[in-house]
């Protein structure tokens, strides 16, 4: 009796499938990115264009905007599969459920976290963030946005069966995002002030390692419960 496809194969297949689906609805996939840009734009409009003020606020503003746009696209993680019944089917595969979660989180990150890295330098420019800080900003985004996708997966898994679970999802997930926000914005802030930020970046790395090992597990449990 054959063992069936291996874990990596399943992972790859799921990611490829979801990316293809997202590609077909290209406009929808771009929403979180546009949101990111718009939110960042709101701050100079609301606070005034003075460069010194914007520069001081830039790390926090950029990170809060990244957080919010990651959250905005979370619902789509399991939504369409839940709607057409394929989520139930996915849970029946012989491979462990956390692989499915990992695949979904990775796809979410590829579509909404990774693109932020491309947009971030432009937005940092708008907010007059100094160059040394931009490099650190990109590092914090690389380390932090996957954590947002992974923790977000837990929230989505918990609320997938609920009607109008959107706002509840935000309420559940945002407090858990706070350490990432503090460390990410703190690192960029420190870099802008010329200080060394090794500590913050290490902590972000630790958070990422922690999230990668534990979040898929928790989300898998939540998914199984939600689909009972």
């Amino acid at each position: 009796m054959s063992e069936g496809p291996g874990i990596m194969t399943v992972l790859g297949a799921l990611i490829r499938r979801d990316l293809l689906l997202a590609l077909r609805r290209r406009a929808q996939a771009l929403n979180p990115l546009v949101f990111f840009v718009i939110v960042v734009t709101l701050f100079p409009l609301g606070l005034g264009p003075e460069p010194n003020l914007l520069q001081k606020l830039a790390p926090g503003v950029l990170w809060v905007a990244a957080l919010l746009s990651a959250m905005l696209s979370l619902e789509s993680m399991f939504h369409s599969d839940f709607e057409d019944g394929s989520l139930e089917q996915l849970l029946l595969v012989p491979q462990p459920v956390f692989i499915i979660v990992l695949a979904k989180a990775l796809t979410h990150w590829l579509l909404s976290g990774l693109p932020l890295l491309l947009l971030a330098p432009l937005l940092a420019l708008w907010l007059h963030l100094p160059n040394e800080a931009v490099r650190v900003l990109l590092i914090t985004l690389v380390l932090g946005t996957p954590v947002l996708s992974l923790i977000g997966a837990i929230g989505v898994a918990l609320t997938v069966g609920l009607r109008r679970g959107g706002v509840l999802l935000s309420l559940l997930v945002l407090p858990l995002y706070i350490p990432v926000l503090i460390m990410g914005a703190g690192a960029v802030d420190g870099a802008a002030a010329g200080l060394s930020v090794g500590a913050q970046l290490s902590i972000l790395g630790a958070l990422l390692a922690f999230a990668v090992t534990l979040a898929p597990w928790a989300a898998a449990a939540a998914l199984r419960i939600s689909m009972e």
């Binding site: 837990i154 918990l158 609320t159 609920l162 679970g165 509840l168 309420l171 559940l172 945002l174 407090p175 858990l176 706070i178 350490p179 503090i182 460390m183 703190g186 902590i203 958070l207 922690f210 534990l214 928790a218 449990a221 939540a222 419960i225 939600s226 009972e228």
Partner: protein, 252 residues
């Protein structure tokens, strides 16, 4: 050990045992609170710098300790209910949430009232108050998730996952807020517990213990009510209700 857990998991056994314990617990709690209030409000001295405002510490700090203690207990009960499928544990977790949220709310309000005479502002983003605010969000999220499900069992299991994830995050959140706080340097609230004078330490500890007992009392009361409601079709509940009505202990 398993026999004990299984026995304790029986709602009827829990109800009878807790019924016997409750009057004693309530009595002890009342005594301790009165003692604590006497020591805190009357017998203990005013602070050299803060004067009489320091007396707020005797309810602010015990509330803060309770808010955290209850969250961890809630998560533990939820985990037990999830892993071993014990309904009573689910009830304990669900009932603890509003109590914990209440203590968190008290911590925030008393912290604000303590802060105004100390710092001059009604709110300061110091480490403890900020952490408490985030803890309140965690409680509210848990309560919201519970009420979003129609099926009680599903609600218990889903919110158990949330509670466990939250509990794991509590130290992470606490330490990152601490770090954030030292970076931005607002003043810290209150007196360091290590440097505290015995005449102030005693009321603090007594209030802390009495608050924990008060939580247990309220927890038992609400869990018992919940058990009655869920087991209402069972014979022992019917008989109990009739007996209480007979003794005119409830107006029909």
């Amino acid at each position: 050990m398993w026999l004990w857990i299984h026995k304790f998991g029986s709602p009827k056994y829990f109800y009878t045992v807790s019924g016997r314990m409750l009057p004693w617990l309530a009595g002890a709690t009342t005594l301790l609170i009165v003692l604590g209030l006497y020591l805190g409000l009357i017998a203990s001295p005013a602070d050299y710098q803060q004067s009489e405002a320091v007396r707020i510490m005797y309810i602010h700090v015990p509330s803060a300790w309770n808010s955290l203690f209850i969250y961890l207990l809630m998560a533990a009960a939820a985990a037990i209910g999830l892993i071993w499928n014990i309904k009573l544990a689910d009830i304990v977790a669900a009932v603890s949430a509003p109590i914990g949220a209440s203590f968190t709310f008290i911590t925030l309000v008393t912290g604000s009232l303590w802060g105004k005479p100390m710092w001059g502002t009604w709110w300061e983003w110091d480490a403890r108050l900020t952490s408490e605010l985030i803890l309140l969000f965690l409680y509210l999220g848990y309560i919201a998730l519970q009420s979003a499900f129609e099926d009680r069992r599903l609600a218990a299991r889903a919110s158990a996952v949330l509670a466990i994830v939250g509990a794991v995050n509590v130290p992470i959140i606490y330490y990152s807020v601490q770090w954030w706080n030292t970076l931005h340097q607002p003043q810290s609230l209150g007196i360091g517990v290590s440097a505290i004078h015995p005449s102030m330490l005693w009321p603090l500890l007594i209030m802390a213990i009495s608050f924990k007992l008060l939580y247990v009392v309220i927890l038992l009361m609400r869990t018992r009510a919940e058990v009655l409601e869920r087991e209402r079709n069972n014979a022992w509940v019917q008989e109990l209700a009739q007996a209480l009505a007979g003794k005119n202990l409830i107006r029909s």
